[in-house]
């Protein structure tokens, strides 16, 4: 059974619909990437699941409980790391984590151990007693993420979990999210970072203008963009006659030279790469380097929404 079910969920603020009839299931213990530009409705959808917003239409069911009818049951299952840190900045990191753990029902001994572990992993042990308003943006973000790692809820929501973080910290957060999932947590990962979504997600849902326009595994979604591979071959010198030869290959959609760079748009680029190199070489082209560009998740997003991730 799905852990989270969105059933024709819509939410309007006055007359403006932020979410327009989303239907989607999120499976138990999967990492579900929620993609979309700012204003796509990701946060509204999450807040509806978290019972903060009442849906204007439809229903969210979390682990068999209706978010509208049983909000207390649903809230006890969810932990959210917000995009912008949301805690009292007059308090220290340790106080914030202690209180979050306590109010979410983590037993004291376990709570203190988890806090120590998370603070150590994030390299924050020395700053745990400082008031958080004094800390850097990256450190504040780590503390926001740490709340969920201390809670270890059944459903963890991370909204842009690696924003403001340096590369080692990003990798650390990714590993910790993986560990969380391995421990039995279902993860919703709202992000604008395509590499993050691609690396982390079992499936992604693409939102645009309040609608869920596509859901699927990243590889499958990229595979839907047939004919979007591009082979770039740098030759010793321009060789315009090659364009006609290359275009005889059935899978090739388009080919042209840009200086001494032969660009070939085709489907099944990975499979056809050796053949294309052999073809060019056989016709007298002297290949210096080759680059294969396959569709990225960003291309998928662009294809299905007609917008860029900004």
């Amino acid at each position: 059974m799905a852990m989270i079910q969105f059933k024709d969920v819509a939410k309007s603020f006055k007359d403006v619909y932020a979410v327009k009839g989303v239907t989607c299931d999120i499976e138990d213990q999967e990492i579900f990437g929620l993609l979309g530009p700012n204003g796509a409705g990701k946060t509204t959808l999450i807040m509806t699941m978290a019972t903060v917003y009442n849906p204007t239409r439809g229903e969210v069911v979390v682990d068999g409980h209706s978010a509208s009818a049983e909000p207390d049951k649903v809230k006890s299952l969810i932990g959210i790391s917000f995009q912008d840190p949301k805690y009292d900045r007059i308090l220290s990191a340790r106080e914030i984590l202690q209180w979050h753990g306590k109010v979410t029902g983590v037993e004291k001994g376990v709570r203190e151990k988890r806090i120590d572990d998370v603070l150590t992993k994030f390299g924050l042990a020395g700053e745990a007693k400082k008031r958080t308003w004094m800390l850097s943006g990256g450190t504040k973000k780590k503390i926001e993420n740490a709340k969920v790692f201390v809670q270890r809820p059944k459903i963890a929501v991370f909204d842009e979990p690696t924003a403001y973080l340096d590369v080692p910290s990003r990798l650390m957060v990714w590993d910790m999210i993986d560990e969380l999932r391995d421990g039995g947590t279902t993860v919703v990962l709202a992000t604008n970072m395509m590499d993050e979504a691609d690396r982390m997600s079992d499936r992604v849902g693409i939102m645009s203008r309040g609608e869920m326009v596509q859901v699927g595994e990243p590889a499958r979604l990229k595979g839907t963009l047939k004919g979007r591979d591009v082979i770039e071959m740098k030759l010793e010198a321009p060789f315009p006659e090659l364009v006609g030869e290359v275009k005889h290959v059935e899978e090739v959609k388009e080919a042209h030279f840009e200086g001494d760079l032969l660009k070939i748009a085709l489907s099944n680029g990975r499979e056809l790469l050796p053949h294309m190199i052999n073809l060019v070489t056989a016709k007298g082209g002297k290949v210096q380097s080759v680059n294969l560009k396959e569709p990225s998740l960003e291309d998928v997003f662009l294809h299905y929404t007609g917008t860029t991730l900004t």
């Binding site: 807040m47 978290a50 019972t51 903060v52 917003y53 009442n54 207390d72 809230k75 006890s76 969810i78 959210i80 917000f82 912008d84 949301k86 805690y87 009292d88 900045r89 007059i90 308090l91 106080e95 209180w99 306590k102 109010v103 979410t104 029902g105 008031r131």
Partner: protein, 244 residues
């Protein structure tokens, strides 16, 4: 119950995050009592009673007003400045429990804040321990009125200017349209009429009655009624901000 105590614990942690907070509030009370009370007491001698002792409870109630209004300030800051209200609403605490706990913690914080001042007044008035506890009870009930009012204001105000103005207006009303400084007999009749319906009047008069050895239920009953009403208003207004 554990959820409610967790919510209140957070409020206490925030209020007393600065370890000098209690000391500063007590210092304010002592300055008010020492400078205003002693100097005015020395100037005003023809009332037939000690003016210093007359205005002493008012200084403590002003401290209580400031401490109680912090409940509204906390709510306002969460709604408007720190944007933490949505985080708080995702936590596994029922909204009603959450709202009530915030108000109750505001009252408890106030009692703790005015505890040293109440001890000073109890000593000045020569109160028994039982009457000292009644005095704390008066502070608790009074703080409910201010906490309820401040949370209601915080639930409506979307700018610091508006919230700060409401706070100033409430403090002016409580102090100057009451018998905190002057007996109703020497107030202008219109002001005296207004001051008869003021929680500060009921609270400060209740304190003065303790000095005379009386627990005046005729004052405590309306104070309790108004406090309950303002707490209900604060609760309902705050709850309304939680519905999206």
């Amino acid at each position: 119950m554990s959820k409610a105590s967790a919510v209140m614990e957070r409020d206490f942690r925030i209020f007393f995050a600065d370890k000098y907070m209690l000391m500063i509030m007590f210092a304010n009370f002592m300055i008010d009592l020492g400078v205003s009370g002693l100097s005015l007491g020395a100037m005003i001698r023809n009332l037939g009673f000690s003016y210093f002792l007359y205005i002493a409870p008012g200084a403590n109630l002003i401290t209580a007003t400031v401490a109680s209004f912090q409940s509204g300030r906390d709510v306002w800051r969460e709604r408007v400045i720190q944007d933490t209200q949505q985080y708080l609403l995702t936590l596994p605490v029922r909204k009603n429990v959450f709202a009530l706990s915030r108000l109750f913690s505001g009252m408890l914080r106030t009692v703790l804040t005015v505890l040293p001042g109440t001890v000073v007044i109890a000593v000045l008035y020569g109160l028994s321990f039982q009457y000292f506890l009644v005095g704390l009870g008066i502070m608790f009930i009074y703080s409910g009125a201010v906490a309820g009012l401040s949370v209601a204001a915080a639930s409506l105000a979307n700018s610091l200017e508006l919230f700060a103005t409401v706070r100033s207006t409430v403090q002016v009303y409580l102090s100057f349209f009451s018998t905190q400084f002057y007996p109703s007999s020497i107030l202008p009749p219109e002001v005296a009429a207004v001051s008869a319906f003021n929680p500060m009047t009921w609270a400060v008069q209740s304190f003065r009655a303790l000095q005379a050895g009386t627990v005046d239920l005729a004052l405590l009953a309306p104070l309790g009624g108004l406090s309950a009403a303002l707490l209900a208003v604060g609760f309902l207004m705050y709850r309304r901000t939680m519905n999206y």
